[in-house]
Structure formats: C-alpha cells, structure tokens
C-alpha cells in the first residue's frame, strides 16, 4: 500500500472571525476525519512515536480503536496511560514529541496524533464516559499540593491505586495553569478543564481550594500531624520575572501571570460584566517568545478597542520557544512580530501610565549556554514602539513559599526543589515534580512527573506495608 501523506488538517475558526472572540480556535476532528487520519498510521512493529511521548502513551493502540470505529474503546485505551487526553491533545507540543518521532515525519507528514488524542478525549467528555476502575481502598492518605497538571495526574494515579487523595489548591478555582494561564480559546475551562477535574472527583479524589500549603498548613505538618503517608508538591513555577529595566512599575505594565490571571481566572475577557478589570488600550506590547507570550498577545488582540499587538522578541523566529501552531495562529490573527528586538525602558505619561517602549534591535552572535545564538545589541538601533499596555512574558521563577516554610527541603540556587529520579525530595515521604522541580516546562512533562511520583510513592508505601 502506498504511503498516504495527506495529513488531515484540523478545522479552525477563521482568523478574521476568531480574533474578535474567545471561543476555541481549533474545532476538533469529525469522526470521518478522525478515521481518515487514523488510517494513515502504519502501526509500526516498533512504534517510535511512543518514544517521543513524555508519558509513553501507547499511541498505535488507541489509534487502532479509532480506525475500528470504536471510540469508546479508544478512550479506555488512552486512559491507561493518560488521565487528561482532552487537555494534552490541545496543549502538548506534539511537533517536538510523538509527531516528531512518527516514521511518517521523515516524509514530512506525521500522523496528527495530537488531533486524534483530542478527538478521543472530547468523545469521552461528550459521552460522559466515566473512568472504569475498581478502586480497592488501601487505607492510606496522600496529600497533593497544587491542582495543576502535575498534581492532577499524580492524584488520579494514586486514587486508582486505592489511596485517599486530597489535593490542596491555593486559588479559589482548581486547575492551576490550565485555569489561570492557558486562555479559553486554546483550552475551554467549563467544557474541558472542569470536566476532566470532575472525572477525578467522581473517582473520589478530594479537593480543597483556598488552602495555601506553607501558610494555611505546613508541608511537614501534613505528614506529622494530619496523617498523610506522603506528600507530592506540585506548586508550579509561577513567580513572575521582570527584566529590571526602568519603567517596569508604570501602570499597565503587567507580568504575563497577572494579565492572564485577570483574563482567565477572573474572567476579565468578559469586559464590564467581570468584576476584575483589565486595561489594554489600543496598542499592546508583549515581551517574550514562548507559548505564554503567544497566549498573552492573542488574548490582548481579542479585547475590544485593541488595534495592534506587537510581540517583541530578542532573538529571531527560529529560536522562538513557542509551539509552531501557536505562532502560526498568532500570525494569521495579525499579531505584529518584532523579532530581534528588546525593550530597554518604558516611558510613561504624567499620570504614570506606560506610553511607549524604548527598544533596540539585536543581531545574533555566538551560541550561548542554551545552544541558541546570543542576541547582541546593534549600536545606534534605538527606536520607540508606542503602547498603552505591556505584558512581560519572559518566564517565571520558583515560588519561595514552600521552601521558606519547610525546613530541610533542599532547593537549588534558583529555588527549585531538588529531587531524585523518582521525585523524592531531601525529606522522607515528601515528593515534588512539575515546574517547581524542572523550572517552567510543559503540561505533559509536569503530568509525567506526577505519574512517576505516584508510582514511586506507591512502591515505597507498599514496601513499608509488607
């Protein structure tokens, strides 16, 4: 049979339409499209796609079920390896993971694994398919700190193994970055995130919002006083970084976390109907080149009154860490990309609102520690970009609260928690994973860390019990 290189493309909202709304951009595959795409899979004897998946999902196994037109079976199969397929299908950088290692990638048209995963995840949501598993209670309690992707995945795994799991969340809503960070048009909150969390609730995972471990209770007390046999810390890395350039404290200079939290968690995208305001003016500058920068830029563009959003990135397009799809979508929607450009100062109005970013142009020099060519300032290249608001999306640091309040918890010089390969920290029975260990990374890596820690916790606790 000849190779089929006609990769199915996901239907999308038209750029001209979607830049004025917050509804989902990608519309998902129809059953016909999904089966057509599934039929392109070669079902390799040694499937290299699995090697590319951070959580080792048995990809051909679930694709076969799609091809057989038994989506229910596909759901069952994918859930063996991944408890949040509707989320991963939407936000994973498949092009550098499973789709990169798919054999058809050599021909330039890998199977659209991400789209198929989403298809299966959405089917489960639409048909309200409960996770079938017979949980045998083992009488042990485990605490999970943080309800982002890493915490959710750890909680789900442990619950299935019979543990009574309590997830502690500092915010008033569950989901961590899935809720406060990733915008509605890329990851719908009620239709997807909430449903995936409800699936865990149905399994019996308990959630406690408004509980900041490190302040409301201490990590060590969870073990010593509250009777938890183990603790998994998955608090993320959400402590925003600034560039420390003049004018960063001007009004309407936001960290990406603030901007996105206002927009997503506090629903400021609903305008005057939301209690929490956001101000974008007519022209917005976004600093950075990662997925968070793309999310911020595309959120800003969708706000009424916004005419121009400039994305200011100090390296060239090739070095941008954002997913290719996000960059493509941002371009289609009309984001003004200013590559090889960096702000050096923000200028303000008499009232203290930002009015312009003073920028310099860069060129690429020798490779730096990250292996990417280091941007070097071009002398005399200064110019101004007029803006009414700025979003600084240059990355995050480790949140210090848990480290400050947990004596004996070893952290590295950047404040990230040090663990062994099983996620065990310097304190017995306290594990950690996700961004608070790795530094800012992806949803799927955080989920993988959560699952690994769950398995390590189970192994350790079973060993002790026997």
């Amino acid at each position: 049979m000849p190779l089929n290189l006609n990769r199915v493309s996901m239907p999308e909202q038209e750029p001209g339409q979607r830049r004025h709304n917050f509804q989902e951009v990608n519309l998902g595959l129809t059953p016909e499209l999904a089966r057509a795409e599934a039929s392109r899979c070669l079902f390799c004897k040694r499937p290299t796609c699995i090697d590319g998946c951070p959580v080792g999902i048995n990809i051909p196994f679930f694709i076969q079920a799609i091809l057989d037109d038994s989506p229910e079976e596909a759901v069952r199969r994918i859930r063996m390896d991944n408890s949040l397929p509707a989320i991963c299908g939407r936000v994973c950088p498949q092009e550098i993971q499973c789709e990169k290692t798919c054999v058809l990638n050599k021909k330039g048209a890998p199977v659209a694994i991400g789209a198929l995963e989403r298809y299966v995840g959405d089917y489960a949501i639409r048909e309200c398919l409960a996770t079938e598993c017979n949980i045998t209670e083992n009488g042990l309690k485990v605490a999970v700190v943080g309800s982002g992707p890493s915490g959710l995945s750890c909680a789900g795994e442990l619950r299935k193994l019979g543990y009574a799991v309590t997830v502690f969340e500092a915010l008033h809503e569950l989901g961590g970055v899935l809720t406060y960070g990733i915008p509605e048009f890329r990851l719908p909150k009620e239709a997807v995130v909430q449903v995936e969390i409800d699936t865990l609730k149905a399994l019996g995972v308990e959630f406690k919002t408004n509980h900041l471990v490190g302040k409301t209770s201490l990590a060590a007390d969870l073990l010593d006083k509250d009777g938890y046999a183990a603790v998994y810390i998955a608090t993320g890395a959400g402590y925003p970084q600034f560039m420390q350039i003049p004018g960063e404290d001007l009004n309407y200079v936001y960290s990406a976390n603030e901007f996105l939290t206002r927009m997503n968690l506090m629903r400021a995208y609903k305008g005057d109907a939301a209690a929490t305001p956001v101000f974008t003016g007519r022209r917005v500058g976004v600093i950075g080149g990662g997925n968070t920068a793309m999310d911020a830029a595309r959120c800003a563009l969708r706000m009424p009154g916004v005419e121009k959003v400039s994305l200011i990135y100090r390296r060239s397009e090739n070095e941008m860490p954002a997913r290719i799809e996000e960059v493509k979508h941002a371009k289609e929607e009309g984001i003004d990309f200013q590559f090889l450009t960096a702000p050096v100062e923000y200028l303000g109005t008499a009232e203290g609102a930002v009015r312009a970013a003073r920028c310099v142009r860069m060129e690429l020099g020798e490779p730096d520690a990250s292996g990417r060519r280091r941007p070097v300032v071009i002398p005399g290249s200064e110019f101004k970009i007029d803006v009414d608001a700025v979003v600084v999306a240059i990355g995050t640091q480790a949140n210090p609260i848990i480290a400050q309040t947990t004596p004996g918890l070893a952290t590295n010089k950047w404040g990230y928690i040090i663990t062994d390969e099983n996620g065990l920290t310097s304190i017995r029975h306290i594990y950690a994973g996700g961004d608070i260990v790795s530094g800012a990374a992806t949803v799927i890596l955080a989920m993988g860390a959560g699952r690994n820690a769950a398995r390590a916790i189970h192994e350790k606790l079973s060993e002790m019990a026997s």
Binding site: H172, T216, S217, Q244, D249, N251, P277, F279, N399
Partner: protein, 268 residues
C-alpha cells in the same frame, strides 16, 4: 463558604466581621492578611486579619465599603472564598519606646501589631487619626493595650485638630521614640516616614497595593523598596518606610480608578 458569625458596624460604612475560618485562626499571627472573594464573580481583595480566636476557630476582619467588591462583602451572609494567613507576620521585638500610628481603617491592621509590640515589652504609644470622631474606630481596644493614646481628627471633633504627624512630631522632638510603625492611607504613611527620617527613628509601614492571588504569582503588588522590586504579598506587606517609593505605590493604586468607579456606579 465561610460562615459569618457576627457583623458590626463600627463607623459609617466600616464593618467588623467575625468569620469561621479555623485553619487560618490557628496559624495567623500579627501582620498577616487574607485574600477574600465575597461571592461568585467578585474580585479577590486583600484584608488584614484584625484578631483571631483559635479556640472558637474564628478570625475578625474590618473593611470599609468603597467599591463593588466591598459592597458585595457588606451584603453577604457568608464569604465564598478566604485564603490565608498570607504575608510575613510583623517582626516583633523589644525596641523600647514604640509608637503605632494609624489612619482611618488603617487602625484595623494596626491593632494586632500594637498588641504584639506591647506583649514584647515595649512602652507603647498609639496615635490614631480620623476625619472626625464619627469615623474613629477601635479607640477603646487601643486604649486598653497602650501606655498612651493620642488622637487627631481633621475637624477637631476628638483629640487634637490636625493630622497624626502633628501629634507625632513633638514626641520625635523630645527624643521619646525608638520605633514607629504606621498603617493607613499612602499619603499618611509617606508623611510619617518623611517626618521620622531626620530623627533616624526606624519606621515600618504596612503596604496595601493591589493584589490578586496574594501568593507571589501575579506580581501586581510589586513595590519599589530601596531601589528593588519587591512583592508585598510574599516579601511584605511591611517594609522600611524610609526605603519605600510611595509615589510608585500611590500611582499603582490608582490604576483602575476609572474601572472601579464604573463598576460601583453600575451597582447603584
């Protein structure tokens, strides 16, 4: 939902609530605050914990109705979300002769700090300021724990007519103070800090910037302190008043004035 045990009107539009929040009550120390979201759809706002009763599992908060969120709060019979205790507790030690200076509802966060300073063995003078006698809160509680209570009102309806700084100045002049802690409107904290600076009396202020999460995640509460960017929620909320950039703070506090007015008017 956090149950409301009692509601008391202390002054026009100023409420004291006792709320059931056992975990917070058990952990809270002087200077800590909470983030409150009164009901579904409300903003998150920071409020200082005025007192707590760990046995009863309750905390007290005091707030003034100024905008849509505090209106929500004044109308509710239970608070949807409360998280805390947040921020570093006040650094308490025996300084010697200490003065606490409070203005308006800033007297509320001042009360637990004053108590802690007194308990640590300081000779404590409390200086309270308000627009008029009607707006003065917690006078009796402050009198009970301080060695001296001085009052200033704008209209002279109680205590000395004038500002808290007018009352503070003679004490500084006499060399009668080793430590000052001020909580109130930004202009007041700035004036107190400027006043104590030439006398080299250590002066702490409790900052009240905008906040959303209160856990170090969003950075809207960032302040300039000694030329550095500090997050009031996790690095503060108390800082050395001689190092704080009050101009930046008051500018950032005004960031959403127009939006806040719009939302308040929409409610009326």
């Amino acid at each position: 939902m956090f149950e409301l045990i009692s509601k008391n009107l202390l002054a026009p539009a100023v409420w004291r609530y006792t709320v059931k929040a056992p975990e917070i009550a058990a952990k809270r120390r002087a200077g800590n605050f909470v983030i409150v979201r009164p009901k579904e759809g409300s903003e998150r706002i920071p409020l200082t914990i005025v007192s707590s009763d760990p046995q009863a599992g309750t905390i007290d908060i005091i707030f003034q109705v100024v905008g849509a969120t505090t209106m929500d709060l004044s109308e509710t019979d239970g608070i949807l979300d409360i998280v805390g205790p947040l921020g570093h507790p006040t650094h308490i030690e025996k300084f010697g002769r200490a003065a606490v200076v409070g203005g308006g509802v800033g007297i509320a966060p001042l009360l637990p700090i004053a108590e802690a300073l007194k308990q640590a063995g300081n000779n404590l003078t409390a200086i309270l300021g308000a627009r008029s006698s009607e707006f003065l809160i917690l006078e009796e509680e402050m009198a009970a724990i301080s060695d001296g209570l001085l009052i200033a009102t704008d209209d002279g309806s109680q205590g000395q007519k004038g500002l808290v700084t007018d009352v503070l100045q003679p004490l500084l002049e006499q060399g009668a103070l080793d430590f000052v802690l001020a909580v109130g409107p930004v202009v007041m904290m700035k004036a107190v800090s400027e006043l104590t600076r030439p006398y080299r009396v250590k002066t702490m202020v409790s900052l009240n910037p905008l906040m959303i999460d209160g856990t170090g995640m969003c950075g809207v509460c960032r302040c300039r302190v000694d030329g550095q960017t500090r997050f009031a929620c996790v690095d503060g909320p108390e800082f050395d008043g001689h190092q704080v950039d009050f101009g930046s703070l008051s500018r950032r506090l005004s960031m959403y004035k127009a939006e806040e007015n719009k939302r308040r008017e929409a409610r009326n």
